[in-house]
Structures are given as structure tokens and as C-alpha cells.
Amino acid sequence: MSSALVFQTAAALSDQLGARKVSAVELAQACLAQVRATDDRIHAFLSVDEADILAQAGAADARRAAGQARGPLDGVPVGLKDVIAVRGQPLTCGSRMLEKFVSPYDATAAIGLKNAGAVLFGRANMDEFAMGSSTENSAFQTTSNPWDVTRIPGGSSGGSAAAVAAGQVPVSLGSDTGGSIRQPAALCGIVGLKPTYGLISRYGLVAYASSLDQIGPFAHTVEDAALVLQAIAGHDVNDSTSFRTEIPDYRAELAKRRGPWRLGVPKEYFGAGLAPEVRASVEKAIAWYRAQGCEIREVSLPHTEYAVAAYYIIATAEASSNLARFDGIRYTHRSPKATDAVDIYHHSRAEGFGSEVKRRIILGTYVLSSGYYDAYYGRAQKVRTLIRQDFLNAFREVDALLTPTSPTVAFKKGEKTANPLEMYLADIFTISLNLAGLPGVSVPCGFSPEGLPIGLQIVGRPFQEADLLAIAHAYEQAHDFHTKHPVL
């Protein structure tokens, strides 16, 4: 029997903490109990440091008792994908390469959470170095979808998504390079936000593809996502690509921005390959917005068909360069087989990396190699410009776009592992936003006949997360999909 605290929103828990109806230690214990009761089936967490969690929760209670509570997240547990550095905690990135690594410093996003008083809770499973769409590429374990444990939770942030969906933590952080927050959020029936590139510092986020990577929250509600975003958004001198922009009070803006909005439906996102049950749920959501007085307009993003190809050139090229640092010399696995320095690189990387990481490093190295650079990388960067212009053109006419998040519901474990290209196409609706740097949120919008969650993706203008979240919040509050939880 799980605690009454489990599956509650961060906002509701925050109110109870504030009213002293529950202590942060009691809340942390309820989360720890839920992990113990369910994680033998879900496998969301790679490690959970119970003593450290209880110490953080105790400190939150002491602050509150002294009248020094830090805000709405003080004492609220937040799960972290094992790719975001927290000093003194593991940082495996789901890889044997970093199996024994302990972070010597905090990511800026982790500092934001600490400053807000949040309890940093566990290291969530992920596809190795964030490369994958199913969390099957973790070197350590495969996470299960809490709605059907024979299915994948999505990826690469599958552990962070499953932990929230299974009631183990109220909110969590993931990272999104091509859909790695939005796709698992959709497949697990929760909210997942990829902010605009540059809104959140990447300092302390282990790099996969630096021009695409962005940290963001998972939550049961849009309001909770706004609370977490508030704690981590803003410029940081340690990330020169982080953007100087005004940070509004995201939660307060949810109620203020009421529409009606002009919403675009990109026709390229509703073609072949879209599962009928996903199409039906998304079209119903579009009809709801229309019924609220929103103007719904068909728009075209004509270069959509090139997005996956451009992404797999740009992302793997950046990865092949970023992952060169894992060389067996300074802080990673070092092969005992090696006899000289160059041998250390070859063997340590062969032993430390899993097959998908090797595949992407090889592809990235190939597309950057002499004689192929212009044909692949150079061309992909130009196509990236075209994809970005498609969106900017659409945003002249509309305030946001409505699309499916994933073309299908959660697939079975093992279904796509033999065919990398098929797995890559799971990100077809999410990938363009990373190339264009745009924010996107996935909100639950229905269930398939077999009871699997479906997500609606809403795409916003750059740095207009307040509008994006308000549009999502309006839909969410008029429906009850976000109140449904899996039976575990």
C-alpha cells in the first residue's frame, strides 16, 4: 500500500509542507518507500543515496522550522538523470566508461535546485550518453514503462520519466537532444518540457551534441514543470551559449495568459507513419482548442522530411568530438590490456562504450572526415537553416504549433533494437525543435485502446515558455488525463 503522498503534485506537496501537515523527511521517506516497492519492476534509478536524501530533507525541515524556507520547492524531491553532475554523487551517463565516476562539482541546474531547497533524489537511468529512444542502451539496466512493464518508457531520459510516472518522485530533470524529454513524457503519460536552447545552463550536463542539448523538467502537471523551470532557468557565466533573457514568474503567468491563441497544425506531422490512435487523440485536442475560440490554421513546415537525416549528421558529428574526452587517461575506465598511450585510447573506448555509442561515434567521425565534410556536415548545417526558417515563417501567423509528440505509443522492449534506423525515426516529430532551438512541451492527451498514454506536443516561440506553458495548462486543466496513474 503506497503512501497518500505518492502521485501528488509538487505544488500540492509544497502546500502541505508549508502548512506543516507533512515534513520533508516524511515526504522523502514516502518516495524512498515507493522506490523500494516498485523499482524491482520499473528500474528507474541506477542509484539512490538514502542517507544523503534524508540529510537534505532534514535540512529543509530545519530551514522551515527556523522560518527560512526557500520557496515552493523547499523539501520537494527531484529526481535527476544520471548525466547531470551533483557533487559527491555518481555520474555514470548509463555507461561502463563512467561506472566508478564521482562528480567533483555541481551542474548549474543542480545548484539552482539546491538554492530552491529541493531534495536531489537519486540517479535516474538513461540510454548511454543520452543516445537512444528507449533506455535500452543503458549499460546497467532496462527501465520499464510503468503502464506496461513489457514496454519501453521511451528515451533517452526513460528513468526520469518512469520515476515520475511510477510515483517515485513528484518531479525530475532530464535532458533533450532530439526528443529525450518529450518522447518519454508522452509514452509515460506525464508532462515533459524541453526549454528553448540557451534558457538553462548546460554547465555540468555531460555533453552529447552541444548545439542541441538542453535540460528540462518532467512532472505530473504543467504547473509543476513551471515550478522546476523557475529554479533552473537563467543566464550562467559558465555556459557561454546560455542566453541573457528576462525570466518571468512562470507559475503566476499560467493563469494570466488565457488566449484565445492562434494555433498552427503542420500538415507534414500528420502523414503516413502516424498511428491511428495517436492521430485521433491529437485531433481531438486540436478540436478542443478550436471549441475554446482559438483560431486553428494549417501551416506547412516543408523541410520536415529532412530533419532526421540532418539531425543524425549534426548530432553524431558533435558527439564524435565531445566523446573524444573519454580516452582512458584522466578520469574514465582504463583498459588493463593497453601497453602504450594510443593503445589506451583504442582499448579503453572499445571496452567502455556500448554498441549504440560506438555506432554514433563512427558515423560522426565518418561525416566529418576529409572528403565528406561538405557533402554531409556542411549540407546538414544548411538544411538546419531551412528547418529553422520554416518554423520562424509559421510563427509569423500563429502563436504555437500543435503536433503529436511520438508517432506511436510505447513499443515493446526489444522491438527496435536490431534496426537503429527504425529507432531513430521514433524521434521524427521532436527532432526539428532541437535543430531550430525551439521550446516544446508534451502533455498527456489520451490513451490507446490498450491503455497506453498518448502525448500532445506544443511548440512555442523562442524564449516564450510562459506562453507555451499557459497554452498547455489550459488544455490540461480542462481534461483529466494527467490525474490517471498506472496500477503498479
Partner: protein, 95 residues
């Protein structure tokens, strides 16, 4: 579409990645499939289009030249596979 022929040994060496004979066969085939798919990009008209490296143009980002605390030697060496006397131990690289 033609499947490009990849010199897998050449690429693996550039990537400093020792591959087994089985991996070489598998990766060469899978990468051929992916490259055949990526060939789609050749259909896009990119004449006169500038490349995008980052979605938002940020350039000349300067930081104040003020010393800040960095990692201690102990922290920096904490994850080293082999360390001695505040240094990382590596095989001899110069005869």
C-alpha cells in the same frame, strides 16, 4: 539508393576505437543503411543558404577576468585511473 562503401578500419582508427571483426561487419552494414537514408539531404535545395551552427547567434561572449576557485588537486585526481604525487600516471610516451 546506393549503399556507400565505408572503409571501417580507417574510420575506427580516426575515432580511436578498437573494433572486433564482428563489430566491423555489423557497423559497416548499419552505417551503410543510415548513410543511404541520409542521402535524402541531397534532394534539398541549399543554394545560397547559410549554415547554422547554433540556433541563436551568440558571439564574442566575454567573462570578467576575475580569478575564481577551481577544482582542488584532490578533486581533479579523484577519478583518475592511476595517480601518484599529484599527477596522473600514463605509460611512457617518449623514449
Amino acid at each position: 539508393m546506393d549503399t556507400p562503401n565505408i572503409d571501417i578500419d580507417y574510420v575506427a582508427n580516426l575515432a580511436r576505437l578498437a573494433l572486433t571483426p564482428e563489430e566491423k561487419v555489423t557497423y559497416a552494414r548499419q552505417l551503410g543503411d543510415v548513410l543511404a537514408y541520409i542521402d535524402k539531404l541531397k534532394e534539398a535545395d541549399v543554394s545560397g543558404v547559410e549554415p547554422t551552427a547554433h540556433a541563436f547567434d551568440v558571439s564574442n561572449v566575454w567573462a570578467a577576468d576575475v580569478p575564481r576557485p577551481g577544482l582542488s588537486v584532490e578533486d581533479a585526481l579523484r577519478n583518475a585511473p592511476a595517480a601518484r604525487d599529484s599527477m596522473i600516471v600514463v605509460p611512457k610516451v617518449v623514449e
